[in-house]
């Protein structure tokens, strides 16, 4: 028997048989996975996503082997299978293939996460002050809308441009859902970039606030007693109406609206067991599998796609534009209300629930120990979820119809 000893250790061996760029990227991704785990454990990045993602990245890039006829692959997941016979085979071989095909690629996981988010969302302030909350949220959609022409000018097709622009909404499930509908080929890089950037919101937005809003204005106090009382019946009526109106307007985004509002309805309907299920096992279970599957999809082949560096820049541009739009909206509200509204609640319109609201509160608290703006910021935050869903609905509805007209520009 003549078995080359190296071929027994295929993880190593494939590093030498592949193109140097692929091998170097594999090693870089293993190291990046370790960095994600470290930052996640230190709470610098969101650990709930980053730790499972980091471990899966390490495992999938280290565990590369020869799968058929000298072709390198892994036993995790293959996202590019189009042939149904091959897919049936792989569902019995790759251990994450069923999770990918039955929960991620059909948009189920984003919807499950949205049910959990709905269940932990408080809509009181948004209902009591709908114009303030929703108009600030509209201002914070600046990035989700005006990154689109930039991405189109940079060579992406309309569906891809819309998917990367939605990153500006800082809403992970929404990014996933839009990419699945409009740019399936870029799902993995866009989703990973979105979740990494969302984790960075904690670190970057405070600098934006510090450099753009005078410290005295950052500490503007808001009167908590000015928030009108909202009863449960009123909230349930709103949930019913909003579900019907938004689903009639955007059937393509109806699964997202239904998932979010069923979560809110469960909470407001006092269904304790359902609430515990949605806000606990369902939300955290879905988040865990999302992080783990995304990590397993992050292979060298994905990263070496020439458009990834452009996506990195555009994701950053989208979030910056949204943050700037939110703060500009906040400053307008501050001026119009003659100093009664703290402009920092504007940045909470970037709908990373509840991170951006917490960022606004933390910056206000640093400037003035008596500034309590979290309930107001949460109202804008929830409104941001709705406005991002509306933008996603507008994109998903209109782009398939007018993509040729857009390309002609």
């Amino acid at each position: 028997m003549n078995i080359p000893i190296w071929e027994l250790f295929q993880g190593f061996y494939t590093l030498f048989t592949a193109e140097p760029a692929v091998s170097i990227t594999r090693i870089a991704l293993i190291l990046l996975g370790a960095v994600f785990v470290y930052f996640g454990s230190k709470k610098i990045l969101e650990g709930l996503i980053m730790i499972p993602m980091g471990i899966a990245m390490i495992a999938v890039n280290a565990g590369t082997m020869f799968i058929r006829a000298g072709q390198a692959g892994n036993l995790f997941v293959d996202p590019l299978i189009a042939d149904s016979n091959t897919l049936i085979n792989l569902l019995q071989i790759n251990f994450l293939q069923p999770i990918f095909n039955f929960t991620l690629s059909n948009g189920l996981i984003p919807c499950l996460i949205f049910m959990g988010i709905g269940a932990i969302t408080d809509i009181d302030f948004m209902i009591a002050r709908p114009f303030t909350s929703l108009m600030l949220a509209v201002a914070a959609e600046f990035g989700t809308i005006f990154t689109f022409p930039i991405a189109l000018a940079w060579g992406f097709n309309p569906g891809q441009a819309a998917s990367i622009a939605i990153v500006g909404g800082a809403d992970g499930p929404m990014v996933l859902f839009t990419s699945l509908t409009l740019a399936r080929d870029l799902l993995v890089p866009i989703a990973v970039i979105a979740y990494v950037y969302l984790a960075l919101v904690y670190a970057v937005y405070p600098y934006l606030i510090k450099n753009l809003i005078p410290r005295k204005i950052q500490g503007t106090t808001m009167d908590l007693h000015s928030i009108p009382k909202v009863n449960k019946t009123e909230k349930l009526i709103f949930v019913v109406l909003a579900t019907a109106v938004l689903c009639i307007l955007f059937p393509v985004a109806a699964p997202l609206f239904a998932s979010f509002f069923v979560g809110v309805a469960i909470k407001e309907g006092n269904l304790l067991r359902h609430f515990e299920f949605l806000s606990g096992p369902l939300l955290y279970g879905s988040t865990f599998f999302l992080g783990f599957v995304l990590g397993a999809l992050l292979t060298a082949e994905t990263i070496l796609d020439g458009s990834v560096w452009k996506l990195l820049i555009l994701g950053c541009v989208a979030l910056l534009l949204s943050g700037l739009g939110g703060l500009a909206g906040g400053m307008i509200a501050y001026k119009v209300s003659k100093g009664k509204i703290n402009p920092l609640i504007g940045i909470a319109g970037v709908s990373c629930v509840p991170s951006t609201a917490k960022v606004a509160q933390s910056c206000a608290f640093k400037a003035n120990k008596r500034a309590m703006i979290l309930p107001f910021a949460m109202g804008v935050n929830v409104a941001g979820v709705i406005t991002t869903a509306i933008v996603a609905g507008l994109y998903m509805t209109s782009i398939p119809m007018i993509s040729q007209w857009l390309a002609g520009g």
Partner: protein
């Protein structure tokens, strides 16, 4: 250079978002006023 049609489309999306949001906000305000009408009386 930004494609003019894409920019126009972005402006239309922004305007549509603003209008839809205003309608949603108006419905919410109306609902709030109806529910709290008795309290004010």
């Amino acid at each position: 250079m930004l494609p003019i049609r894409a920019l126009l489309y972005a402006v239309i999306v922004f305007a549509s978002l603003s209008i839809i949001t205003l309608v949603v906000a108006a419905i919410m305000k109306l609902l709030y006023l109806i529910v709290h009408r008795k309290e004010k009386i």
